[in-house]
């Protein structure tokens, strides 16, 4: 009994000493950094004042071509293929009438009527999803990319109601259920159930100096660059071609242009 009491007192004393020391040890450990992380920027990272995309639908307009892009996009971002109406889509194809519902023509050209159009998040200049988000989980970066913080999203789905392009998906169930976990891209996180997600213009690739995956895969049919730079490739494409944007009446100023 006596023995155990002495042991207890020893233990208590040591613990108390440990507690007193602990803060100084942590202080020592963090010395030099002063608790602030270094800003690590890849030397090759791409920058723009306003990222934008121009899609030449004369070159890219079949279901197969667009599905191939979607496959690459969905693979590198670990987007699951869910066979129900609770599916998740970052990039997909649609007809002219679906892509531009207010600009439908009663006698469309045969060519345009047959075409399929790649749809994705428009990364709007004045995004209504950002306006309604109650937690700033979706936000516009200074370079115009509308990004998501999956860890802050509470899953209220207000952004889905607000997006006039149907560009957002909700993880009704755990997306991992529909992912082949042996084949996922280890460089990009998977999501959990209960959060909203969407195309991110491949910010993670821009950060290491690569073009968005769909642009890279499109054989030149998609152009990606700085809208604010008059000499950029997107401005050149816009100067030389007639382009339209989806649902201009919504006033969101989309960052994706379509050459018809």
């Amino acid at each position: 009994m006596k023995q155990s009491r002495r042991n207890f007192l020893k233990f208590a004393g040591l613990s108390a000493a440990g507690l007193c020391l602990a803060p100084s040890v942590t202080a020592l450990a963090s010395e030099g950094g002063h608790g602030k992380a270094h800003e690590v920027v890849n030397a090759n990272s791409l920058h723009a004042k306003r990222w934008a995309m121009v899609i030449d639908t004369r070159k890219l307009n079949t279901e197969e071509e667009i599905n191939a892009l979607a496959e690459v996009c969905h693979h590198i971002h670990n987007v699951p293929t869910i066979p129900t109406k609770q599916n998740v889509k970052w990039l997909w194809e649609a007809t002219y009438a679906e892509a531009f519902p207010n600009q439908e023509d009663n006698y469309p050209s045969e060519d345009v009527e047959k075409r399929k159009f790649p749809l994705l998040c428009n990364h709007c200049e004045s995004p209504s999803c950002v306006r309604v988000c109650p937690t700033k989980a979706t936000f516009k970066r200074p370079d115009g990319i509308v990004a998501m913080d999956y860890h802050r999203c509470i899953g209220c789905r207000y952004c889905m109601a607000a997006c006039p392009y149907g560009s957002r998906s909700f993880n009704f169930m755990s997306p991992r259920k529909y992912l082949d976990m042996d084949k996922i891209n280890m460089k990009f996180p998977t999501r959990m159930r209960g959060v909203v997600e969407k195309c991110n213009f491949c910010v993670e690739r821009l950060a290491v100096g690569e073009m968005p995956a769909c642009v890279e895969k499109s054989n030149g049919a998609m152009t990606f660059g700085d809208l604010k730079d008059p000499n950029s490739n997107v401005r050149k494409a816009l100067r030389e071609n007639f382009t339209i944007r989806r649902n201009p009446a919504a006033g969101t100023e989309p960052g994706v242009y379509y050459i018809i």
């Binding site: 109406k85 937690t135 999203c153 209220c156």
Partner: protein
């Protein structure tokens, strides 16, 4: 005063246990939802809000029912409502509790709910809705409870209650306006994109809310000796009638704008709801039932002879409640999401599990209401003010 809720007859306790059983059963389904996610609901990528948010929207209307009693009582010194003021305030408490419950069960990641407070975002209407709903709850708890306590002590209510009561009257309008703004400011959702939506919410609330309140009061009258007084019932019914007329009128204004303008997107949701679109007619029978019930309720409420007929009144009010529920608790939400931004129709219907969770919230509201009404009625009985003679 809470001790009043602990003393009751076998009828009272069996009702409480019944509600607790429903809440328990619903909660197991909710636990399943927490495990599986919102995939257990009928919602989809296109119809991303469903039954939960629709019930929340409808119950905001019930929350404001009290204001139709409190306003004439405080602003116009309409003394006949004295016996019912507390009933209105307590109904508001139960309704706001249900509203908040429906929001919580609708959130995909409820463990992060506090992010709304940690990262306050004034540009989001949802942030303001949280403020007005919780504020309204607090106001009604403080005002209702203090007034009842003073009544029990047979003293005048403290002076500071009056400004709070006035604030709660104006606040009641804000919970509707802000909830309507949740919908009315969204580009691409033409069924909601209407400046009159907030006004429609108010009109719909001021008929459906007091109608439900009156129906509940009739039940209380049957079970206890509580008598709100013929004058109070008559005035409230008149208010309901006017509000329903305005509600129907506002809806017709929407129909005119949508169809006379001939802008396809504006009429598409109406077409889907009332005649069907692309071969989808799921909601058509519901919407026409709402139209028929609205018309019949008006036919039974507008002529004074029928309106003041106490035997007919519960029926007229019931069909009015059904009509407004279909319009706001079903059609408004589904119509807003259908057609989707691509002009396509994705059908939505709540699943059994979704309904079970909803019933849990409704039972929770009934439990809160039962306890509050039990306290109010017992105190009124002690004071000898259970009946209003007129």
């Amino acid at each position: 005063m809470l001790e009043k809720a602990l003393k009751g007859g076998p009828k009272y306790w069996s009702w409480i246990i019944f509600l607790l059983l429903i809440i328990g059963a619903g909660f197991t389904v909710y636990l399943n939802q927490l495990q599986e996610g919102l995939t257990i609901t009928g919602m989809s990528r296109d119809v991303s809000w469903g039954f939960y948010i629709a019930q929340f929207t409808y119950l905001v209307g019930l929350a404001a029912s009290g204001v139709m009693i409190v306003l004439p009582y405080y602003f116009h010194h309409y003394k006949k409502f004295q016996g019912m003021v507390i009933m209105g305030e307590f109904m508001a408490i139960a309704a706001v509790v249900m509203c908040l419950g429906f929001i919580i069960v609708d959130i995909g990641s409820p463990q992060r709910m506090m992010n709304m407070i940690f990262h306050p975002t004034p540009n989001s209407i949802l942030f303001w809705d949280m403020i007005v709903l919780n504020g309204y709850l607090l106001l009604n708890v403080v005002v209702g409870w203090t007034c009842l306590e003073s009544e029990r002590q047979r003293v005048e209510p403290p002076k500071w209650v009056r400004p709070l009561a006035y604030t709660s009257i104006i606040w009641a309008f804000s919970i509707h306006t802000v909830t309507a703004f949740l919908y009315a400011g969204l580009p691409g959702r033409h069924y909601w994109l209407s400046a009159i939506l907030a006004a429609r919410f108010l009109a719909s609330a001021f008929c459906s809310g007091p109608a439900i309140l009156l129906l509940v009061v009739f039940v209380v009258r049957k079970l206890t000796k509580y008598e709100p007084g013929k004058g109070a019932i008559g005035t409230l019914t008149t208010i309901i009638t006017y509000a329903m007329c305005v509600n129907v009128f506002f809806f017709l204004l929407e129909v005119f704008t949508a169809f006379y303008s001939n802008i396809p997107a504006h009429g598409h949701s109406f077409a889907y709801l009332f005649v069907g679109s692309h071969g989808h007619t799921e909601l058509v029978p519901w919407m026409w039932t709402a139209v028929a019930f609205a018309m019949i309720s008006l036919a039974l409420l507008i002529p004074p002879k029928l309106r003041y007929n106490q035997n007919l009144l519960p029926f007229s009010l019931s069909i009015l409640v059904i009509a407004t529920w279909i319009d706001k608790g079903l059609g408004l939400l589904i119509g807003g999401f259908t057609p989707n931004p691509f002009g396509e129709i994705t059908t939505y219907w709540p699943t059994g599990k979704e309904l079970m969770v909803s019933i849990m919230i409704y039972a929770l509201g009934a439990l809160v209401l039962t306890i509050l009404y039990k306290i109010a009625v017992d105190i009124k009985r002690d004071l000898g003010e259970l009946t209003t003679s007129d």
